[in-house]
Amino acid sequence: MIEIKDLHKSYHMGSNSLHVLKGINFSVKEGELVAIMGSSGSGKSTLLNILGMLDNLDEGEYLLDGVPIKNLSETKAANYRNKFLGFIFQSFNLINYKSAWENVALPLYYQGVNRKERKERAVKHLESVGLGPWIDHLPSELSGGQKQRVAIARALAAEPKVMLADEPTGALDSKTSYEVMDLIQKINDEGKTILVVTHEEDIANMCKRIVHLKDGVIMEDTLVNQVRASAHVQ
């Protein structure tokens, strides 16, 4: 599903140049649940941004479902993001003046789906994350865990090939974190490929594979025995 070969990325700030990713080789097959771990500055967010086509790579190759991703125009990148990727952010990034279902329906709007179908599909996804009764609520009326579940429903709405989660539990307490991870695991169980950036050991252990990043290179890439989050959720 994801194929990365010899990926390099540097940031230039004035005369200083910061080499963030120094030759990453890495591939993800369909249906995997991968945790990308690393301390801050290890390049894990940069890697995720490149995977998410939010940032361009300098050198190397990136194939997403067989499609080469390089030097995309803004318009093309937007279309690919819409079609291939679902994003989950640490700070949820919901649009605060739109109701839960309108937030979830937004990717569908950019796909040109008509309003009636958008609402149907958004409501279906909200129900699947257990937010059926909250479809008309504004984000400000929801708890952190609920907000993240709206964000997950939104990431699912466009039926992407890959879901990218950037510290999805970073702003949540541990109980809520496990609930969110439980949801992510269930989505993965249905066959969705998911990448989770995290620095929390317990969250990483809830994935099927852990990739350790340090100073822009992959230190370790191991398959783990998945800890089911449901065990922690009552």
Partner: protein, 418 residues
Amino acid sequence: MGILDRDLWSEVFSTLSKNMLRTFLTTLGVIFAILILILLLGATTGMSNGFNKIFAGTATNSMFMWTQTTSIPYKGFERGRRIDFTLEDVALIKRQVSEVDIIAPRIQLGDFGGTSTVIREGRSSGSGVYGDYPSIDLVSKKRIVEGRFINQNDIEESKKVCVIGLDAYKLLFDKGEKAIGKSIQINGIYFSVVGIFKKNDNINFEGENAIFVPFTTFQKAFNSGNKIGWMAILVDPDKQVSVAEGKIKKLLKQKYNIHPDDVRAIGSFDFSEIFKGISAFTFVLQGFSFFVGIFTLLAGVIAVSNILLITVKERTNEIGVRRALGATPKIIKRQIILESIVLTTFAGLVGFVISVAALHFLDYKFGGSDEFPFVNPTVSIPQIVFSFILMVGLSMLIGLIPANRAVKIKPIEALREE
């Protein structure tokens, strides 16, 4: 997703309506701009209408000419000589000056502006009494409230008839009394009333207590011979009054042995000059209104752009999210430009409604008053259409600034912003 796509508009409207305060503040500038533009244009039109009302019924291409005293000795004549125009002069001018359309000579009883005592059954009125031809009506229209004005038949048969003003009527008759057919006495001679006139809301030479009798009757009754007091001259619409004026004066100066450079001997008053002055004045005023209005509008639209620019900054995160979710730069741009257009158009409509109401109020308050030239202040459809197109065009252009700013934000940076 075309421009008529319902979702596109509902996206724009929901964004605007869910930020009511911001939307309202943004529109204020444009509301005021349109208000000022329309009020200025309307007030100018009202003033222009007011002037037109003053001159209604007065032929614009006309002049008056009368005699004064000479100021330069010439051909053995001393200065200070007074000459009188006669009916022959009228015929002479008609023959020789092709620009002249109609000449209405007039003679008055007593001195210019003076009055004579008019008597009826023990009542009296001090009225100006004028001997006139029917054609005077073409130069300065009278509003006849009852009966008729002097006609050609009266002239030919020198009928002893008269047309009296409303004031004279009030002084000479009881309220509601029928005046037509009754006789009044002027300098011992009886005239039968055939009409009553009311003054126009315009330039009046005679006032409402004047009395008009047929010119020929005047000649006989008051023994004035061929003498005339002054003449109202109507010039062909496509000819210059000043040219005709020059020619007539030259002709009469020759005839009466007046020095060619003597400017005092013959007095005249060119109406077209006044009209030209006033139309130039209202034209300039209108241009000025447009100028001020357009720049105010520009300022208003720039204010919209400015606020949109701020909101783009405020919405950086939202725009980042939208782009991460698949909004192309084009979609973001279109949304912001549409927001700009919708805001401006909405504000413009509100401004129009308020200003039209204000103009109605002004019209109600001042319109039709005699002291102030202000009638029916309106804006024309082309003016409205023009300002609307201008407004939408400007908002579209100016909306490009925040739109481009929004697109320049990289989604990754936008998402980092909290």
